[in-house]
C-alpha cells in the first residue's frame, strides 16, 4: 500500500523547478537556431514558434503554481518504483538482445507483481516473446536488431 505523504513535501516544487528549467534551457537552445533572411523565412523565423510555446508553458506554470498547485497525495510505493527500475533494466539489456531483454523483463515483472506459478512465468518469459517474434518476423516480415538470441535465428 502507498504511504501518506509527509506534511512538508518538496515533490511539487521539484516538478515546478523541472518545468521552468526545461523551458529556460530549451528557450536558450532556440536562440541558437539559424536565422533566415526575410525572403526565405516564410512568415516566421524557425525559433519564433518554439519560443512562443515555451513562453506560454512558462506563463501557465507560474499561473498553476499560484492558482492550481500540484498536490501529491501518496508516496510512490515499492511496486511502482520497482516497475520503473525494471523498465530501466530492460533498456540496458536491449544492447545484448531485444528479445532476451523482453523475456527477462516480462518474467521479472510478473514475479515482482507476485506471480508465483512457475509455468505461468515461463510462459510469459519464454513462450510469449517467441510467439511475438515469430508473428512479427514471419507475418509482418519485420527484421529485428541482431543480438545474442536473434543471431541464432538469422544465422
Amino acid at each position: 500500500m502507498s504511504k501518506r505523504i509527509p506534511k512538508h513535501n518538496f515533490e511539487p516544487w521539484v516538478v515546478n523547478f523541472l518545468i521552468t528549467s526545461f523551458c529556460g534551457a530549451t528557450f536558450w537552445i532556440s536562440t541558437t537556431f539559424d536565422r533566415m533572411p526575410p525572403i526565405l523565412k516564410r512568415g516566421i523565423q524557425p525559433s519564433d514558434f518554439p519560443q512562443l510555446i515555451l513562453i506560454l508553458i512558462l506563463i501557465l506554470t507560474v499561473t498553476m503554481i499560484w492558482f492550481d498547485p500540484i498536490i501529491v497525495d501518496e508516496r510512490l510505493d515499492s511496486k511502482t518504483l520497482g516497475s520503473i527500475v525494471l523498465l530501466a533494466v530492460f533498456g540496458g539489456l536491449t544492447f545484448i538482445d531485444l528479445f532476451l531483454s523482453l523475456g527477462v523483463t516480462a518474467a521479472l515483472l510478473a514475479i515482482f507483481w507476485t506471480e508465483r506459478r512457475w509455468h505461468v512465468v515461463l510462459g510469459i518469459g519464454l513462450m510469449m516473446p517467441a510467439l511475438i517474434f515469430l508473428l512479427f518476423d514471419q507475418v509482418f516480415e519485420i527484421r529485428f536488431p541482431r543480438g545474442v538470441l536473434t543471431n541464432l535465428w538469422y544465422g
Binding site: F33, G43, I57, L60, I70, L87
Partner: protein
C-alpha cells in the same frame, strides 16, 4: 451519392468483413480488460495495421474504438470496475442491478443502448462530416490556424485533469511536435545532431508510451485490488416495459453524446457523465439512480457510444481529433499517408464512406457479439494483472520497433511512458499531450502561411469573420468553464 453507395458496396469484401469482425472481437476484449481502453488499445494495435492497406487498417482502428467503448460496460456491470473511463457512470447503476441478480438484464440494456447510440451517431457522422468539410473549403490558413487553436483550447475542459494542467500538457505536446527539421525553412531544431530526431518525434511511439507503458506503471500500484465478479446466466434483451422506460433516455443521450463527441478533444467520458446526469434529471424516479436504475445504464451507455461517431466528424472533416482515441486514429491516417480534411471528401470520398459504413457495421456487430458472447468476455476480466501487463509490455515494445524498425522508437516508448506516468501522478492528463503532438506541426505551418498571406500583419487575422469567430470560441473555451462556475456559485449563494 456514388461514394456513399460504393462505400457500402466495399463492405461486401470478405477480407474487410473478416478484419472488422476480428477487430470488433479484439476491441471487446480490450474494453473488457480493466486498465486497457479504446485509446491505449488502438495505440498498441496501430503497428499491426501497418502492413495493411489504408481502408482495412483504419476500419480496424475504428472498430476497436467503437467496440472497446461499449465493452467497458461488461466490467462496469460485473465487477464494478469500469473497463474504460467512459463507462464509469455505468457502474453506478449497472453493478447494483447485477448484485440483485439481474446482470444479464443490465448487460442487455447496455448492449442495446450502446448500439442505438452508436448507429445514430454514425448517421449523424455521414450527414455532418461532408457538410463540415464543404464549409471548411472556404477556410484559408488564418481560419485553419484559428480553428486549430480552438481545438487545442478545448483541451482545457476535457474530463480529467485541471484546465491549467491540461493546457500545459497540450503546449508540451505542441513543443514536442516542433522537434526536428523545420518543414518551412529546413533549419534543425532541438535535434542535438541526432539523425533519429531529424524527422521529429514519432507520435505513434509517444502514444504507445503515454497510453500503454504509463498505464503499466499505474497498474503496479493497484495489484492488491481484489475484484469480485457477479455471476451471470445469460444476457437478456430488454423487454417492452424496459424500452418504454428508457427510450427517451437513449435518444437524449445519443444526441448529447454525438454533440459532445463533435466538440474537439471532448470524448466519450464527458459524454457519458452528461448523458447519465441528464437521464437522472429527466427521470420520474431520480431517487432510484445509484441503486440499479435502468435509465442510468441506458443514458450512460448510449452517450458514450454516440460520442464515438461524433468524435470522428472533426477528425475526418477538419483533421482535428474529437477525442483521445480519435487522435490515435488520426495518427493512423497520417502513417498511411492520408491527410484528413475537406479534400478527403472529394479526392478520397470512397475511403471516407467505407469508414463510415464500417463504423455502422461494427455497431451492429458488437450488438451480436455482446448478446451472444458477453458471458465469455466476462471471463476475460479474470485475467490476472501480473499476467496481462507483462504481455502488453512486450507487444508495446515490439509494436513500436516494428513501425520504422528503429530502436530509437523503443527508447521513445520507454521515456514517454515514464514521463506519462509522472505527468499523471502530478495531475497532468496525457491526452492533451497526444493531441498537441498531432496538431503542433499543423498549427505552426498555418501560422507561417497566415503570416505570408497577411504580409506579416498578424492582427489582420482578427478582421476575418470566420477566424474571429474561432478566436472568440477559443477565449470562451479557455475562460468559459471558470466564469460559468463563478456564476453558478454566485447564483446559489
Amino acid at each position: 451519392m456514388e461514394a456513399f453507395l460504393s462505400g457500402f458496396i466495399s463492405l461486401g469484401d470478405p477480407k474487410l468483413l473478416l478484419i472488422l469482425l476480428a477487430a470488433t472481437l479484439g476491441g471487446v476484449v480490450i474494453g473488457a480488460l480493466p486498465g486497457l481502453n479504446a485509446t491505449n488499445g488502438a495505440a498498441l494495435l496501430l503497428p499491426f495495421t501497418l502492413s495493411m492497406e489504408a481502408i482495412p487498417a483504419i476500419a480496424s482502428l475504428v472498430a476497436i474504438y467503437c467496440s472497446a467503448t461499449f465493452a467497458g460496460a461488461i466490467t462496469a456491470i460485473l465487477i464494478n470496475t469500469p473497463g474504460t473511463p467512459a463507462s464509469a457512470t455505468t457502474c453506478l447503476d449497472g453493478y447494483p442491478l447485477a448484485q440483485r441478480g439481474e446482470a444479464g438484464r443490465a448487460l442487455g440494456l447496455a448492449v442495446v443502448s450502446s448500439t442505438i447510440g452508436g448507429v445514430l451517431s454514425v448517421i449523424c457522422l455521414m450527414l455532418a462530416a461532408p457538410l463540415l468539410a464543404r464549409m471548411a473549403y472556404q477556410f484559408a490558413p488564418p481560419e485553419y490556424f484559428a480553428l486549430t487553436l480552438f481545438g487545442l483550447s478545448m483541451l482545457a475542459s476535457i474530463g480529467e485533469g485541471s484546465p491549467l494542467k491540461n493546457l500545459i500538457s497540450g503546449a508540451f505536446g505542441v513543443f514536442l511536435a516542433l522537434v526536428g527539421v523545420d518543414m518551412l525553412t529546413s533549419v534543425e531544431r532541438f535535434t542535438f545532431g541526432s539523425h533519429d530526431l531529424y524527422d521529429g518525434i514519432g507520435f505513434v511511439p509517444v502514444m504507445i508510451g503515454i497510453f500503454g507503458i504509463s498505464e503499466l506503471i499505474v497498474q503496479a500500484s493497484s495489484l492488491d485490488k481484489k475484484r469480485e465478479r457477479v455471476s451471470m446466466k445469460a444476457v437478456q434483451l430488454p423487454n417492452r416495459d424496459d424500452y418504454r422506460k428508457v427510450w427517451k433516455a437513449i435518444l437524449r443521450s445519443s444526441g448529447i453524446g454525438t454533440f459532445i463527441g463533435i466538440l474537439p478533444a471532448e470524448g466519450a467520458t464527458v459524454a457519458s457523465m452528461i448523458g447519465y446526469n441528464e437521464a437522472k434529471r429527466w427521470s420520474k424516479t431520480p431517487e432510484q439512480f445509484g441503486n440499479g436504475a435502468i435509465e442510468g445504464i441506458a443514458g450512460s451507455e448510449a452517450a458514450n457510444n454516440a460520442a464515438t461517431g461524433g468524435a470522428m466528424v472533426p477528425t475526418l472533416a477538419l483533421g482535428i481529433p474529437g477525442s483521445a482515441t480519435a487522435a490515435v486514429i488520426l495518427a493512423g491516417l497520417m502513417v498511411h499517408g492520408i491527410r484528413p480534411g475537406p479534400s478527403m471528401f472529394t479526392e478520397q470520398a470512397n475511403f471516407a464512406y467505407t469508414i463510415f459504413w464500417s463504423m455502422m457495421l461494427v455497431n451492429l456487430m458488437f450488438l451480436l457479439v455482446g448478446l451472444t458472447g458477453a458471458k465469455i468476455f466476462a471471463r476475460i476480466t479474470l485475467i490476472p494483472t501480473q499476467v496481462l501487463w507483462p504481455c502488453v509490455f512486450m507487444i508495446s515494445i515490439v509494436g513500436a520497433y516494428a513501425l520504422d524498425q528503429s530502436m530509437f522508437d523503443v527508447w521513445i516508448v520507454l521515456i514517454s511512458g515514464i514521463i506519462g506516468f509522472f505527468m499523471r501522478r502530478y495531475g497532468f492528463s496525457v491526452v492533451p499531450l497526444a493531441i498537441g503532438l498531432i496538431l503542433g506541426e499543423m498549427l505552426e505551418q498555418r501560422l507561417g502561411q497566415s503570416m505570408v498571406m497577411l504580409d506579416e500583419k498578424w492582427w489582420l487575422m482578427f478582421t476575418r469573420p470566420l477566424s474571429l469567430l474561432f478566436f472568440c470560441l477559443t477565449i470562451a473555451a479557455l475562460f468559459g468553464p471558470v466564469l460559468w462556475t463563478k456564476y453558478l456559485v454566485r447564483l446559489f449563494k
